[in-house]
Symmetry: C2
Subunit: 539 residues, 2 copies
């Protein structure tokens, strides 16, 4: 009883500090690191780099299954000295063959897959991308388009000797209209740089994710990235207004409209959003950006049960309404990893579950009053047991880092088996509970975190090293469990190399066949990002 | 001066009535009709029904031009007695051949185009749609899928003797999840019925449009309808989560996921959104619905100039922020038509421009305070000259009808040439001004209204009867003007039959060719809604 009272008092203090016009200062958030989480990239230890292979045990009612292993190399041409001479001519100084430089482009951020490309091309213009692809198409050379290489499913690195076509030097903002909020930029702009550019102009990007410091907007669009703001601003399918894409044969598809509405024919750009570079190379993006909110508050709360967390979500949607911009969660296992590996202290009392709520609005008094009333109600109803609130930028960032840096903490815990699952929101944590029970101590850690508002669970399982026995216990269990709830086996990460053969758990045979037809229509030689997204035995 | 002072006082009274917890009553809105606008459907006078033909004068830099006239009938089979026997067997009592019944399905709502179909099919299930299309595909019979037949570009009626496949009897809600707000329903559900269904459950549809009393959700999705809430809830490309579609050969594509996020392969449903029934027949829709706002306010304001209207929009976006749910406009010519034909009195003093602003939020006091502060500021800055505010449902509907019923008023003014243009918001009214100047009295009325928040102008030009000389003066002027500003010649209406050959004004040749490839892939015999969306000379 005493502890509960203490917790409540603590929360009440935080809540009280939200009263309009009061100055907020939280000793708990002061203790947190306020620096932007940097991804500790990679001087890859090749001993650790290995293909991430899995055995697929499809459910008996699945139509087709695919080879679980890395596919055979397809009969693309090998790069010759003549090819290099051509590339050096059109990209002088930007045709890289130094193996040391190439290493970072051959290995993914998780160090879970690696390719063996010997050529990295760094075009600066759409015309250069067009020339590259026209040439590769005529020569039957395979190409791996690469943005910030922050993908988690092995989609952003080559598998064999595909040429790497990096968008890193295509990083110019092309235009920004401060009346409409429409930004047009090259594909290689880093998300965080775009955010900073926009914030100076009183706008924000409609998406935000942990990898923002490295990921490219072109890659975000190619993978239909979700992230932390989807709850509020919707998916890229609504906010991306136009794309410029270079097709496999070098033709440039110019659909870079900067109009909110355009119903003249089929919306071709949608084909390329989320196609992971397998249908074309995105070279420029036009995107609708929301106004920068005048007021942002972040609350970090503790819950005893996931049921209470869901009730808090329902209450929150009703009471915060239009100012709710994120509702994220992590479990106590995530907190343990943050404490252990990143030395991030828990800003509140230990709890089984933690919630990160962000509000973004236009009126300080109104927003704080809404948040205050909501927190009072959540506390009175015993839905939350402890909490702290931040209104100041560095403190907000510190609280957010408790959610954003879980991925990073996991990399220190061991080899990580990552699952990005979409489920009806009521069921998202049951999968973690069932998985723990199912594995019965076989794993080092089994953690769950993610986007409650979007019904998106990140289930991560670690072991001290790669462990085929553990993997066999996880899969197909995780996929069958998900398919049993009509969930998606990839909510936002895509399929890439690692998950390509599991597509049938979430999509019917007819749909996958049609995807194959689209691939054949747009890239008949299959040179664009081969071995990715679509299952092996499709054609 | 006296008039200005009076107007200000009047507005101030309206504004004052918004003070928190006050009871609002406006004599001006009381005078308005509060009934839902019904579309006066159609006992079509065939003398007035005629193909809407146009001459295309493409700009010299356009790649391709098309025949301006109604295309030749393509070599589809003619319906035989055996065909009818088959349809009667699978759709007993729902295979209609009575010409009187068929008349309403052959003629569009504007009475601007008519077809000559002799068979109307009214399936109830997806399986029946599949059987119909499988049969039509094997027999090479053309099919016109039809929802509520409220389209404005001749896309919803047959051109020759295509079978009409109506979704009217496919009107069941399949499921609704009150936690996630995800609705799944058959394609023939009428939008307004869905809205009523959801409102009882504390949710709303993410789209709303004037034709809501007749239009079907399947047709809304097939045409990527925009409407009045797009500013707030985004386009259907973001809110539609899943579709069930029957392909041209009868195969059923089941992508009816009800998940907020799913990145497993290409997002096939996007192909069908906005393809106007030319790629498949949508049979069911899964859509994400927002919570019903607790508080809705509508302001009807007058402005002296369009420049001031735009300044009001900018001010409004900043000050109303997250509660702004619509910013619409009409000009004084629209008001004249509403007064004249529908006897709707102007609720405020006559002005050159009128704005309809809707706010939707979760807190009465906060919302009214935001609106109050905004209106005070707009008035103090002399951006608006008069205004009234409604907070009560019937009064809100009455104010909205001033915007929603302009289309209906136009039908009484004469033969209407309709243009649905997307432009950078600063330029949307310049087109109306330039058109008036260009036509110099040749037209009966030249009016502009639309969705300022989306940069979407509805330009309408009437004459007492069809007038080829007037048409020749309007086109290609309107298209060239639009293309000159990188606008879209169809923001939300689609291309249908009427605008199909003007696609090159908004899309490059490469893009249109690719659309043709997609059509050929999904509907190789071209039986689905022929003569629509894509230009004549594509293949």
């Amino acid at each position: 009883m005493a502890v509960t009272t203490l917790r409540r008092l603590r929360l009440r203090t935080a809540v009280r500090s939200l009263c309009p016009h009061s100055t907020f200062s939280s000793p708990t958030t002061d203790r947190l690191l306020s620096i932007r989480p940097h991804r500790p990239f990679l001087s890859p230890s090749l001993g650790q780099c290995a293909f991430y292979s899995r055995r697929l045990h499809p459910r008996s009612d699945r139509d087709k299954v695919s080879s679980p292993t890395i596919p055979e190399r397809l009969p693309f041409s090998k790069i010759t000295q003549e090819d290099l001479a051509f590339f050096r001519k059109i990209l002088p100084g930007r045709t890289i063959t130094d193996p040391d430089v190439l290493e970072a482009n051959n290995v993914d951020w998780l160090k879970s897959v690696r390719g063996f490309s010997e050529v990295l091309l760094r075009p600066q213009t759409t015309e250069e991308v067009s020339q590259i692809l026209r040439y590769c198409h005529s020569r039957n050379l395979a190409v791996n388009p690469q943005g910030g290489n922050t993908g988690l499913v092995g989609g952003s690195v080559p598998v064999y000797d595909e040429l790497i076509l990096s968008t890193a030097l295509m990083n110019n903002v092309l235009s920004f209209d401060s009346v409409s909020g429409i930004l047009t930029c090259q594909a290689g702009c880093i998300l965080e740089n775009l955010s900073l550019y926009l914030e100076e102009r009183d706008y924000i990007m409609p998406l935000d994710l942990g990898a923002k410091g490295s990921c490219h907007i072109g890659g975000n669009v190619a993978t239909n990235a979700g992230g932390l703001r989807l709850l509020r601003y919707g998916s890229l399918r609504g906010t991306v207004l136009g794309l410029e894409v270079v097709l496999a044969d070098g033709r440039v598809l110019e659909c870079l409209a900067s109009l909110r509405k355009d119903n003249t024919g089929y919306d071709l750009k949608q084909l390329f959003i989320g196609s992971e570079g397998t249908l074309g190379v995105i070279t420029a993006v036009s995107i609708l950006c929301p106004r920068k909110p005048k007021v942002v508050n972040v609350a970090f709360l503790g819950c005893e049960t996931f049921e209470q967390l869901l009730q808090t979500f329902q209450l929150c949607r009703g009471m915060l309404g239009e100012i709710l911009s994120a509702f994220e969660f992590l479990d106590s296992e995530c907190m343990r990893l943050l404490n252990t590996y990143l030395k991030l202290p828990n800003p509140i009392t230990d709890s089984p579950f933690y919630i990160v709520i962000e509000t973004a609005g236009s009126n300080l008094t109104h927003d704080e009053e809404k948040l205050h009333t909501f927190l009072e109600e959540a506390m009175t109803s015993s839905l939350i047991t402890d909490g702290t609130v931040a209104t100041e930028d560095t403190k907000i960032k510190a609280l957010w880092s408790m959610r954003e840096r879980v991925t990073e903490a996991l990399t220190h815990d061991g080899f990580t088996y990552k699952y990005d699952i979409s489920l009806p929101v009521e069921q998202i944590y049951q999968l973690v509970t069932d998985m723990r029970e199912h594995l019965r101590g076989k794993a080092k850690s089994v953690v769950g975190y993610g986007h409650v508002g979007d019904g998106n669970l990140h289930l991560n399982i670690t072991s001290s090293a790669k462990d085929p026995t553990l993997l066999a216990a996880i899969e197909p269990f995780v996929y069958e469990w998900t398919a049993g709830c009509q969930g998606s086996i990839s909510a936002e990460h895509g399929l890439g190399l690692k998950k390509r053969n599991y597509i049938y758990y979430s999509k019917p045979r007819q749909a996958v066949e049609l995807m194959g037809n689209i691939k054949a229509m747009l890239d008949p030689k299959g040179i664009l990002n081969p071995y990715k997204t679509l299952p092996d035995n499709l054609n």
